[in-house]
Symmetry: C2
Subunit: 324 residues, 2 copies
């Protein structure tokens, strides 16, 4: 069995060795850049681990898996323009280092370079793999749209928020796990179980990401505690708090979440006090745990000896912070 | 045989009937908009005519052909952001009517909707069709990059300029003709001849477009005569003029093509005088004619009775203004 680090190395090597159309170097430079500034290669590693469940040989899966990473980075390049984000993984974003036009165009061609990778899937499963990827790609764009819409919305329900993160984050993890299984020649029901494994894991991961921003150790995670609250960002915590609060408390929350607080520390404190009164942390952790449970139930369903699932279990555990 | 107008209707109908993921209407509105404000549907019509050469039944080709149109419109939406174009086909561009972020994101999802269309190609040729499309898509992005690079460049050679328009415009027409042939079950050599037909036609078309801007009847074409000259735009005419002029004439041309002329009529006149002295119109018309010749030689090579090629011949003739 390949380890996580084996697989990351394989993917990194495949990405470095990708051949591009070199007639316009300026088109390619930002692509090499975004692909070189780190990232855990989570999606391709997930795909290859999933493939490795069913097959000792995973070579056929390496290039299609790289396609998942290239697609993911395409969405990052364009999302960073949309969010006006100056920094990604501690490096300047593409539109900051170059300019918006370059980020649009280099991003665009990444979508077709990803296509090229999926077109190199084994013939026997190419169509299934490509359909799975393309469905996820459309869903990711849909999720990004909902994210934009919801940023401006006054109220977003928990279900709306969960569907948004499902589309924006979870379906690509789900598709990665399923695509790996398809390339590994898994049976349909096992591939489907791995899709559900990835989807639930992705949801849990995103909920925990929201939790960490408010309740995580800021030194450990390198982010200011409560950054999402200061930025009035909609998270599962804020969405749930608005859903549960009533009357004066609701109004107070609305006031806190409108405009820019002069004293952000006081704002974070006030919001967290309301969260406490509404038991938001507990409710949200329970929700995350439910998705984690579901993810592992789905992994159990995959008709492969438990021993062979060790790497995937450990990847999932580390993703949701259960490896400490 | 289907006529041009039959085929345009078929494509229009297919585009109207496309089913989208409706979870985020705001994502889809700009797509419906850009696809509804006209356009000749040149690429899908070309594909279906090419298909119809080999096959009386063209139904299988309709959705993949619509994919060509959707991809083409994806490039328009993003190019219009890059070029800061306010108007397209007499309607506000997507980023003007909505905003840049919306144009980026709705554009992005069009790329995957196009994928979806190609995934509906007949199984027997799906891989060939998709590879052909994807190669063209990467080339179109490369051409757009060269266009941006060359706008800023001081000097661009005729060969560089021709390669740029080949990538940006001609290869997609070429791929359209070839994809139609593949779906029509043509032999490889006929599909390849149709690719070359489309490529040469595309080059001729783009050169003639440059010619029309300076020498066309402004009333007939609805554009100001010499608009490209006023805007210091690189065209086959300007590129050729810079290549042929020397000494004082070269310097004069450089002066005229730098900065913004106060009197644009005088500028157009002065530039056209230099063009006349260098015989630019004649040289460029000859070049366009060479490509037209090559295109028709390629169409002749296709092993199908000439009578059956009537519609494609007439489409090509109208495209290069030989139908009057």
């Amino acid at each position: 069995m390949y380890t996580q680090s084996d697989l990351k190395n394989l993917v990194d090597k495949a990405i470095v060795n990708l051949s591009f159309n070199h007639e316009a170097e300026k088109l390619i430079d930002p692509i090499r850049y975004i692909l070189s500034i780190g990232g855990k290669r989570l999606r391709p590693v997930m795909a290859l681990m999933s493939c490795n469940l069913f097959n000792d040989k995973i070579e056929e899966g390496v290039i299609p898996s790289a396609g998942l990473e290239i697609f993911h980075n395409f969405t990052l390049v364009h999302d960073d323009i949309i969010d006006q984000a100056p920094v990604r993984r501690n490096f300047p974003t593409v539109h900051t280092k170059w300019n918006t036009n370059q980020a649009i165009l280099s991003g665009d061609v990444m979508a077709f370079i990803a296509n090229d990778c999926f077109l190199q899937s084994p013939q026997r499963c190419l169509l299934k793999v490509f359909r799975e990827f393309n469905k996820a790609a459309i869903e990711v764009c849909t999720g990004q749209q909902l994210d934009i819409d919801y940023e401006r919305a006054l109220l977003v329900s928990q279900n709306e928020y969960l569907r948004m993160i499902e589309l924006k984050t979870a379906v690509l993890l789900a598709a990665s796990a399923k695509i790996g299984a398809l390339i590994g020649n898994a049976e349909d029901k096992d591939a489907e179980a791995l899709y559900e494994f990835g989807r639930n894991l992705g949801l849990a991961f995103q909920i925990q990401d929201d939790l960490l921003d408010t309740y995580g150790d800021s030194k450990l995670f390198g982010k200011m505690q409560g950054g999402d609250i200061v930025a009035n960002k909609k998270t599962i915590l804020s969405v749930k708090a608005f859903e549960l609060s009533k009357g004066r408390q609701f109004k107070h929350l609305q006031e806190l979440y409108s405009g820019n607080a002069e004293d952000s520390e006081a704002k974070v404190k006030a919001v967290m006090e309301i969260y406490d009164r509404l038991n938001i942390r507990n409710i949200t952790e329970t929700l995350a745990n439910e998705y984690i449970e579901k993810a592992f139930v789905m992994l159990d369903k995959v008709d492969i000896p438990r021993e062979r699932k060790k790497e995937l279990t450990s990847l999932a555990s580390s993703l949701i912070g259960r490896d400490k």
